[in-house]
Symmetry: C2
Subunit: 133 residues, 2 copies
């Protein structure tokens, strides 16, 4: 298991990209809309870990709700696993509540599933597996 990316909820990717480009001294390598999640995303590569900025594209998106409740900030940590279904089953067996019945299609060519933050000391944990081409 490794840290694949850290997701940061922002109100405006256009604004946040200006700031994070200055902080990281690089431009995002990808902008991608994830329609199923009602978000736009922007990705930076820092060593083997990515930073993913997330902007809501609809009022009922999880990112819009998160910002309304807690403000902008770090939203989730994504851990890359080799076999997401096996990992979901392992964690369910350990008593974690996995929020998805089956993996769903996420940004950046990934299958993803989330673990309930109440089971992880307030951390929203994303499991992700790269889709084999």
């Amino acid at each position: 298991m490794k840290v694949e990316h850290i997701g940061i909820a922002v109100r405006s990717i256009a604004q946040a990209d200006k700031l994070f480009s200055t902080l990281f001294q690089q431009q995002p390598y990808k902008l991608e809309e994830v329609a199923s999640e009602s978000v736009n995303t922007s990705f930076y590569q820092l060593g083997e870990t990515k930073i993913e900025l997330l902007e809501a594209t609809a009022e009922d998106s999880a990112i819009a709700k998160y910002i309304e409740k807690r403000g902008e900030g770090i939203h989730h940590i994504a851990f890359e696993v080799a076999d997401i279904e096996a990992e979901m089953n392992r964690l369910r067996g350990e008593g974690f509540r996995v929020l998805n019945e089956t993996p769903k299609l996420g940004a950046d060519n990934k299958l993803v599933a989330f673990v309930h933050p109440k089971d992880c000391h307030g951390v929203l944990v994303e499991l992700c597996q790269t889709i084999r081409e």
Copy 2:
């Protein structure tokens, strides 16, 4: 710049270590008290990035205040830089508020400094540089 670690504020490291050891399928490689910050820390290595659990050892510690206000959860992202003083000066020149006049001694043999979360879309950014032995 790379993601050196992600800091997670928890009420009890003893309890959180049980859960994160199960999630990560490994034990923490180090427990360390950082008296200057009034915290105990616990470290996991995941690829080239670490997860640092932080537990307050005093009521006036920044971690105690964070948990009181926001609950447990992701507290900061630490970015490794080659020359922390040069990076602090670069960011000040770009208009970021660096919260420390000079780098201070952090956990894990590091010099650290923090950037104001209001200048980073709600993200508490730690800069860190490994102390040369």
